[in-house]
Structure formats: structure tokens, C-alpha cells
Symmetry: C2
DNA sequence: ATGTTTATTGATTGACGCGTCAATTAAAAA
DNA sequence: TTTTTAATTGACGCGTCAATCAATAAACAT
């Protein structure tokens, strides 16, 4: 029963299903069949729209990245002072949407995937560069070494992600932990 | 040409080869054949000694963990003050042996593997718990909240590992970055 | 010598999964 | 109504890979 304009609907369904499957399996060892089944279609259709499995994974990651970008912009727009901007950036990294186990699992797996897939690596670089730029720009007025501090904060975010993915999250709030840890490195406002 | 007592030699060769293969591929998508070939034997022999592929991976990770433990003990034994002990712990995490790209790749992949393999998860918990205990014990005399600080430092170590694995390491020395970042949270010696 | 144990592998099996393709359906266009 | 076009799938070919097994060969024991 072919209705027209199914492509975007199918693509989104597949992307969502892929993220869910990756989350359920905890790895990228997920078959196109399983993804398609969850998305309510045949695997042939998935191949028809995406070409191959890697493209599905990449689309899933792009989807997650886009969601994160929205989260960041939304929070940044409500921040005025550098300190508020820093808080916004860090809290965005641990927003509900990013902290979803499925999303964390996808992140972790795509980190590894980036090792062997130049396309995945490029996507990761986009995220990293954007976060780094945002942090440096925000820190410049209030930190002596904005670049070094930004790199440390970024690594800390990544590290807390891993710990969350491994279920060892008894930490109340990763964001406030980072901010408290960072505070001594910020200059007094004058 | 069966010489006797080959088992330990074969096992070590397979473990080393597995780490090399994982490092070369950047993922766990490595065939038993490839590992066996690199180790200079047939895949049947690998199965003979290890039973299945997962056991090879686990043995490889145990091997890496053991090497890390040696590194830690060695450096701890030469430290007297709490501050020296902290330096020893952090620097051990970024020792040459841990920073080897092959080893980093293995770590990253086994993080993911732990998601679906209880055995791998148990191994990771051993490492995490040991590091956490060491950090807390070391920090107790010089930090107000040893547990929270230990968790943050551990996450920071993990995060810097990822960045190293992704090749974005322009940072001079991760260890000194961590120590500098941690310094303000240590109490004055009295 | 003869038998037992250990080491070793080539060949094989069985399963699985990606990607393709021809065929089908039904909406839209002519 | 006829034709085109988008949507959709079942079946399948092809390759891959983990794991098994029977067979061979050398060391050791008696």
C-alpha cells in the first residue's frame, strides 16, 4: 500500500530503531534485520533507503548530534555571563536527552567505530570541535589558560559518560561535580 | 613437531597477537584466524587452548590489567607522601605501557564489550575498584571529600584515554594536566 | 617396540548476515 | 483507462566465521 512521501518517515523510524537496538545490545553487533523489524519493515527496505548498514549507523549518530546541538543552543541562549554560559555548556552535556542509556551506548560505540570508519571519525570531530570552541570562547574572559582548561573539561565530560554507560553512576549530578571541580581555576570577576 | 609444554607459550602468543590485531583493526571485529595467523598457528589450535574467541579477548584484557597493576605497584612503592602517591597513581595511568595505541584500543573496545559480557564487566569492575580504592586511600589525608575527588579523577583519566585513542592528543602530558587541575582541591600540608 | 599423551592442522560443518533482485501493490499522472 | 512511478518484500546468493573433528606426528613411558 504505497503512500507517497514515505522516505523521511522510514528513515526516522530506522534511525530510532537503530539507536534502540544498539542500546539494547550494548554494541554495534546489531543486524539490519533486527533494526528493520523493530522499525516495522523489511530489511530490504532499509537497504533501499540507506544503502548499507554503516549509513544507518551514521544517520543515527547524526540524529543524536543534532539533538545535542539543539540542547546546547537552547541553554546557551538563556545565559548571559561567562559563568552562566559555562554552566549551560556543561549541563547540556548531561541533559536528560544525552543521558538516556540508549544514547550513551550509541556514543560509546561510535567512539570505537570512529577508529575504523573515517566517516564516523569526521562526525566525532565535528562534535568535539564544536564543544571545544564553545568552551574556549566561554572560558576566555574568566580563565588564564582557556584552551588547556577546555580540553580538561571536555575530557572530564567524556569520562563521566563512560562511567554512566558502565552503570557505576551513583554520582548525584555530574554537571555540578564538574563545575565544582572547575571553579578554583576561574578568575575572580572584577 | 610437538614439543612438550607448549601451552603457556601458545597462550601468550595468542594474547599478544590478539592485542595487536585489535589495535590494528581498532575494533573487536577480529577473526580467530587472523589472531592465530599472527601468532603463528592454526585457528584450531587457538580454539584448543582457549575454547572460544571471548576467552581470548578476556585473557588479553587480563594480561593488560596485570601489566597495569605491576606499573602501579612499582610506582607506589617509591612514593612516601600522599602527594607523591597521588602523582604515582596518575602517572601510572599514563605510563608508556598504558599509552601504547594497541593497549588504548583494547581498553576502549573492552569498555564496550563489558556492556554485553558479564565476564568482561567483572574484569572492568576489578580495575575500577582497585583504582578507586587506591585513590581514596591516598586522598583521605589531603582532601576534604576523598570519594568525590577520587571519582572525578578516575573519570578524568578515562576521558583522557578516549581522547588519546581518538588521536587528538596534542596535550603535552595528561598526568601533569590532571595533577595541576587537582591541586586546588588538596588541603595545605600542616 | 608398543602404547599413551600432547601438539597440531586441514578440512568441514553449520549458521548467520549483508546486500541484491525480480516481482507485487497501489497511488498518482497522463 | 492506461501508464508511470514510488513503496515494499520474499527469497536467495555469496561470503564469512566460529567451532568441531578426524588424522598425523612427535615426545614420553613401560
Amino acid at each position: 500500500m504505497p503512500k507517497l512521501g514515505m522516505e523521511p518517515i522510514r528513515r526516522e523510524a530506522l534511525v530510532t530503531a537503530a539507536i534502540a537496538e544498539i542500546g539494547a545490545a550494548g554494541s554495534l553487533d546489531v543486524t539490519v534485520s533486527a533494526i528493520s523489524k523493530r522499525a516495522g519493515m523489511s530489511s530490504a527496505l532499509a537497504h533501499h533507503y540507506f544503502g548499507n548498514k554503516d549509513q544507518i549507523f551514521l544517520a543515527a549518530m547524526r540524529h543524536i548530534l543534532a539533538g545535542f546541538a539543539v540542547e546546547v543552543r537552547s541553554r546557551l541562549s538563556m545565559a548571559d555571563t561567562p559563568r552562566d554560559r559555562l554552566t549551560a555548556l556543561v549541563e547540556a552535556s548531561f541533559a536528560q536527552s544525552c543521558f538516556d542509556p540508549e544514547v550513551i551506548s550509541a556514543w560509546l560505540n561510535f567512539y570505537v567505530k570512529a577508529h575504523s570508519s573515517p566517516d564516523a571519525m569526521r562526525l566525532l570531530r565535528v562534535y568535539q570541535h564544536r564543544l571545544r570552541s564553545n568552551l574556549i570562547h566561554t572560558l576566555r574572559p574568566i580563565a588564564r589558560e582557556p584552551e588547556a582548561l577546555a580540553d580538561t573539561i571536555a575530557a572530564l565530560i567524556d569520562g563521566l559518560y563512560i562511567r554512566a554507560a558502565l552503570g557505576a553512576v551513583k554520582t548525584n549530578d555530574p554537571a555540578s561535580a564538574i563545575l565544582a571541580f572547575t571553579a578554583p581555576h576561574l578568575e575572580d570577576e572584577r
